[in-house]
């Protein structure tokens, strides 16, 4: 078996595409003008920024005036949540609803708000990692300021019932924000049709560079300004525009949303072959609903082994993957997402996430399916947990 290099961690980040890089390059050495400047060099930069804004708006079904460039998905999440909290507090509304499986950019923000007098309800997920819209409905109160629910989960790839949640919020007149960092480019999104009030996205997940994000804010929501300064982003998020990054994001989102169905039709069967192949190993389980998940995502728990060891061994075989293991996060607790599915700690520690795109070929899938069982066998052979399991004993 010849060693390959397979990047199967697109949920972590993606490579800047050639198309995106080519679009960005002229704005470093030639079109370097400040988009606020009056002369042609500046006007050209401004035109490039506005052109990118149009592309983002089109991709999301929004108006360009509703698109604000930020530095990353986390910034967008922070702005939407803290901004709405500040806005609605004036009306005496200091209650926020979110879920237990959100990204830390949301959870650590709501925890921060809890320390500052806000109340937060964390709705649970089913053992398949799905939110029940009824739980949102039941959690909404008179003083609810915001519902913020991620579109698709970064670890287990589950796609949440966003349309239903948005409809409930619309009916109850509560603002709805969604962290769509993992969903954009993988799921068809139309914010106006779906009734989404705010949406966060990140460039580097869709083949733009790191350090660029977007917050969509529906017209009419007076979200407080995030950065005070110049008039950039219509004064709401000041700071000289990162023109090359914005241009790149425009091209990236256009490409990512061009033909999602065709892309997913290629990826899904390959991903399913991976799932079925790995689940042939004993004592494994798929985390997250099998159907309501991102086409390229799989997350499998492999009992008896620990995730970081698995990742290191996969890396030695040229495969880039990710894990919900504690060891990759620097804390002793495994992923909050996996624990929320009801997994025991030891099982959650032994999880692996692969997130593939079209460039992972059928031959690559064959290779992964050859490597994973060998690596698992090797790690289980040296695992005292596996030894006990095989003797029918239980680990605490």
């Amino acid at each position: 078996m010849e060693k390959r290099f397979i990047y199967a961690d697109n949920a972590a980040t993606t490579a800047v595409s050639e198309e995106v890089l080519a679009a960005m390059l002229p704005y470093f050495r030639e079109g370097y003008g400040n988009a606020s400047s009056i002369y042609k060099l500046g006007r050209d930069a401004q035109r490039a920024v506005e052109d990118a804004r149009d592309k983002v708006a089109k991709a999301l079904g929004a108006d360009p005036r509703e698109i604000f460039f930020t530095s990353c998905g986390s910034e967008s999440d922070n702005w939407a949540i803290k901004g709405t909290a500040e806005l609605m507090a004036k009306k005496g509304k200091k209650h926020i609803i979110t879920s237990v499986i959100e990204h830390h950019a949301v959870l650590h923000t709501t925890e921060y708000l809890e320390k500052h007098g806000y109340e937060v309800t964390y709705v649970p997920v089913s053992d398949k990692g799905l939110i029940d819209p009824e739980d949102i409905k039941n959690a909404i109160r008179e003083d609810t300021a915001l519902v913020t629910i991620m579109y698709a989960n970064n670890e287990i790839g589950t796609i949440q019932p966003i349309d239903e949640i948005a409809a409930i919020c619309r009916e109850k007149k509560v603002l709805f924000h969604t962290d769509a960092v993992q969903a954009v480019g993988h799921v068809d999104i139309d914010v106006h049709r779906q009734g989404i009030d705010m949406l966060s996205l990140s460039g580097h997940k869709i083949h733009a560079q790191k350090g660029i994000g977007v917050l969509y804010v529906r017209k009419g929501i007076a979200l407080p300004n995030l950065i005070h300064g110049g008039g950039q982003e219509r004064g709401r998020r000041a700071g000289t525009e990162n023109v090359p990054a914005i241009v790149g994001l425009g091209v990236a989102i256009e490409a990512a949303t061009r033909d999602i169905a065709a892309k997913n039709a290629v990826i899904t069967p390959r991903r399913n072959r991976l799932i079925d192949g790995i689940l042939k190993l004993p004592y494994t389980r798929l985390n997250g609903d099998r159907d309501k998940r991102l086409a390229g995502n799989l997350n499998i728990s492999i009992e008896g082994i620990e995730g970081e060891s698995l990742l290191l061994m996969l890396d030695m075989n040229g495969i880039c993957a990710s894990s919900g293991s504690a060891c990759t996060s620097g804390s002793l607790d495994p992923s909050h997402v996996l624990l929320s599915l009801g997994l025991e700690h030891a099982v959650a520690h032994g999880s692996m996430r692969l997130s593939i795109e079209e460039d992972v070929t059928d031959e690559d899938i064959d290779y992964i399916l050859e490597v994973v069982p060998k690596v698992v066998e090797r790690l289980r052979a040296m695992s005292p947990v596996w030894e006990k399991m095989m003797k029918g004993q239980k680990y605490e």
């Binding site: 620990e306 995730g307 290191l312 060891c327 990759t328 700690h345 040296m382 005292p384």
Partner: protein
């Protein structure tokens, strides 16, 4: 996570993996909740550790520290093995990331736990010799 070449070497080619069927002392430390469990087997002849083997469930650092700890005590006297500190394991591995230092503590405690079992089997109270075994905090 920046691991030294030595850590990666001991992870990818761990020394002394396995069990000793007729071990004179077996120790186990850690729990599945925190994600690291080490089991250590010692063969002891005339106060000399003639063989040491381990099994570990855990991260790269947990495997590497187990491997290095067995290397450091093999052929040594019990007295020398009792002097093994987690710092010595860390130094022998050319360092560990700060969040992984607890793995070296586990390796040190796994050795002590196996020696403790050795004394218990001899009908000797291990505590005055080996001290209390520290389980990791959850």
């Amino acid at each position: 996570m920046l691991y030294s070449e030595k850590v990666l070497d001991h992870f990818s080619n761990p020394r002394n993996v396995g069990e000793i069927e007729d071990a004179d002392g077996v120790g186990e430390i850690g729990n599945a909740k925190c994600g690291d469990i080490m089991k250590m087997y010692l063969k002891i002849d005339d106060n000399i550790i003639t063989d040491a083997k381990f099994k570990t469930f855990g991260c790269g650092a947990a495997v590497a520290t187990s491997s290095m700890a067995t290397e450091l005590i093999k052929g040594k006297s019990i007295d020398d093995a009792l002097k093994l500190t987690n710092q010595a394991v860390v130094e022998a591995l050319d360092g560990l990331p700060a969040v992984k230092i607890h793995c070296s503590v586990l390796a040190e405690q796994a050795v002590r736990s196996a020696l403790s079992d050795y004394y218990t089997r001899q009908g000797i109270d291990p505590v005055p010799i080996v001290g209390e075994i520290k389980e990791p905090e959850e």
